[in-house]
Symmetry: none
Subunit: 138 residues, 4 copies
DNA sequence: GTGGTCTAGACCACC
DNA sequence: GTGGTCTAGACCACG
């Protein structure tokens, strides 16, 4: 299954779920017409309350990623992949920009920031050598 | 004044205050013996609840950045600059690592992440040309 | 075929089916004695659960629009046209009144409502020039 | 108070609340900077569960009508009036268009629809003579 | 079986 | 005091 939640990192569980579904769509792991796991199923699998999953799914409907197929379940909408890639891109960019701004606000020079980013990036690439290439950004 | 807070960005106000004081010390804008603004003064200036400022100052005392000069106020401690630079460095690194990890978790390839970071970094450097060089990192 | 359903617009599918059969009778597209499509036939054509069609047909029997012709199917009853026209009229009126009430509840003035209704009405008439005149209202 | 809910008309309570707050902003009854009633307060007044109010308020935040002032409450955002008038207008229009489309789909001629709308409109205006003029539509 | 709404109540962080 | 998150469980309409 494509969803994994961490209940202890402060990020709301419903948010983690919604985001991971979006990323799965962005990657093509879910394609238009696919049904996403039922609320009850996923809530059992993740051992969280069904309402929490329902809340994540509600957000996916608000964002027009998914639509309700009456009495059947929730299906990925046409064109969702594009939306999801855009969301993902935007989201990652925003997080990155925030981190960089914080570094500058902390009083570091651009050289210091550049050096620090490079170091952390290299560490992470070394730690995750097996990254599969995924959907390109819009 | 060296403190500016944003009440609507989700970051706790007391946290913003404490951090900015630390950064001011790291930069040498505050040096050992300097008094930091009184709780009432700063709370008035920032239009913030005095309890919030008090909480920030409590954290600064816990972290041994400032100490109470009885009857006078709170003064920056000897050796605080070193501590603050270490805090700053550690904090910025952690934030950066988190942002990068999130980017990978979102399914981006290392090339995509590298490109994106570079873009955002260049944007920010252009937007803030007047960065003063500040204390080097431990 | 005179029935078309939209599974994603929130209106119950069985309701859409029942109503459209009634409207067909009101218009004279179905006349007393005509057999309506079998449950299995219609369910296959609409790609809908047979239970859903069955439920629609049950309502039509309750409303005395159709009756079971044993071993043959369901047939439009004598006098059904009059009933259907009445249902149609009542239903349309109720929907219209609700929409208008909502507009007032939203805080619009009667002038604003009048203007808005006129605009939408003109748009629709332009978009559907080929309306056939149908049964007059009771 | 500017909110009144009807728990028996099928429309979700949280939806009624969110919409009525929007309409209050559209009308200028709430202006930017105003705090909307606290979750607990409104839930007590309407005798509904606090979570239900919270859900309505969450939607208002998603729609950028309102923003959280940390520890203080939810405040109407700058520019919300414009957004709210647009939402209101769009919403009323959509409801009206649906009702009119339904009338045509039911097989009525444009003359019949026009007549029917006129009748219902006159009835309602007579029943609500004291409509105050409110914010114009964008 | 599916999702949707609502209630009741706990716990948290923040001001 | 404020909102935010999560749990637990009930009830409903739909297929």
């Amino acid at each position: 299954m494509f969803v994994r939640v961490n209940a202890t990192n402060g990020v709301p569980v419903y948010d983690q779920i919604a985001r991971q579904v979006k990323f799965a769509v962005a990657d093509g792991a879910l394609t238009p017409g696919d049904l996403i796991p039922s609320v009850r199923e996923l809530s059992k699998e993740l051992a969280v309350n069904p309402n929490t999953v329902a809340r994540a799914y509600r957000e996916l409907q608000n964002d027009e990623i998914v639509e309700s197929a009456r009495g059947v379940g929730l299906a990925v909408r046409q064109g969702a992949a594009k939306t999801c890639r855009a969301h993902r891109s935007e989201w990652v960019r925003r997080r990155m920009r925030l981190a960089l701004e914080e570094a500058f606000d902390a009083g570091l020079s651009s050289e210091q920031v550049e050096k620090l980013v490079g170091e952390e990036l290299r560490k992470l690439i070394k730690a995750r050598p097996s990254e599969l290439n995924s959907g390109d950004e819009s």
